[in-house]
Symmetry: C2
Subunit: 220 residues, 2 copies
């Protein structure tokens, strides 16, 4: 894994710790994220969340007023984090393609909290009609934010010949759909099955003559 991707993950984790200072609450949130991602909002029982965090069922209610509140909090954190991840990538030193490469590496990393949250968002949006209204609205505003950074990044790459021509918004939607699909596959399959390297994932974005390392041997 590249230095830059590790930096993205590190920044993301720092942001998470700053937004949730209490370690016990972080523990509950991290475990709840996992349970929600695997069972969905309605399928996840408070007892499950408590058990994976090492607490009794009733104890959770010292920190959160309801199951919906936990879910909404996670959606809020994911909303912040998803936008931030793309923003951080833009702030790195490199070409547009390289930035997307590092972002992809970080999003597909097995251990990243960013990825954990993406997984949750994915399940949550798939079952969107059953989630609390507040979480839905947060998710909607969140859905826009990554695109605000990603679409200009694609246009920049297109201008440099690094990224294939075409509607930048369409390519961005395709990118996040792809990442989402790979995230689901990661959840539902056991470790050890073959998984695509970043180069394979990004081939649909590459400009003609691109060599997969950010270099273009056609015209600029």
């Amino acid at each position: 894994m590249s230095e830059q991707s590790k930096l993205l993950e590190q920044r993301f984790n720092e942001g998470f710790e700053m937004m949730v200072p209490d370690a016990a609450i972080r523990k509950i949130i991290l475990n709840a994220t996992d349970v929600f991602a695997r069972k969905g909002l309605t399928g996840a029982k408070i007892k499950d969340i408590a058990a994976t965090a090492g607490f009794s069922q009733g104890f959770i209610y010292n920190y959160f007023p309801s199951k919906d509140a936990i879910f909404t909090k996670i959606v809020e954190l994911a909303a912040q984090g998803a936008g931030d991840a793309v923003k951080y990538a833009c702030e790195l030193q490199g070409t547009p393609y390289q930035k997307i490469y590092w972002l992809t590496e970080a999003l597909l990393s097995p251990d990243s909290i960013a990825m954990q949250h993406w997984r949750l968002i994915m399940v949550q949006t798939a079952t969107s009609e059953a989630i609390p209204e507040e979480a839905k609205q947060i998710a909607q505003s969140m859905a826009r934010k990554p695109f605000e950074y990603f679409v200009p990044l694609i246009k920049e790459g297109q201008a440099a010949g690094e990224i294939v021509a075409g509607d930048a918004l369409m390519l961005a939607i395709t990118y996040f759909s792809f990442i989402q699909g790979l995230g689901i596959t990661k959840i539902q399959t056991s470790a050890g099955i073959p998984f695509p390297p970043v180069e394979t994932v990004l081939r649909f974005l590459e400009g003609k003559g691109h060599d997969g390392k950010g270099n273009v041997n056609g015209t600029v």
Copy 2:
């Protein structure tokens, strides 16, 4: 949409009608599929399913003994259908890349029952720990079947230089992950947002020098 993709969809729908001869049961299944896909197994209430099918809550139990039974039946149909869709594509006349092209077109078609079932399978597997054991086992056997047809298809395409070199199983997993991610995006977004054409989706699979028409001007 191409002739061949329409044929795939038509074959699929015929298979569905043969497997579920009773029109009332088909109606329940189609509506239940939609509700399950959007709310998940635990989030979907029998009342919802009955309402969308135009029945009262209790009436459903004249046709199915339980909610789990409806879900399991749908998984079974999807299991059959997913494998069949790939099989049908293999039986068409054309190059491996063309067959994958037509399959993709059919799977991403907004109106195909095949796609509806894929959407359900996706949610169901994402929330896999909450689903009945029987459905899980069917889903597991189903998960293998599309690969049994798809992996050889990729290898054939690689031998012809149409498909990029690399682990065929990995490429197959990538393909279905991509399709799944695009399916989720289709569910959760309203119509009118830009969506990638088949050519964009399949670029990650193309052999070097592929011109999108099955012709190759270089080796892999």
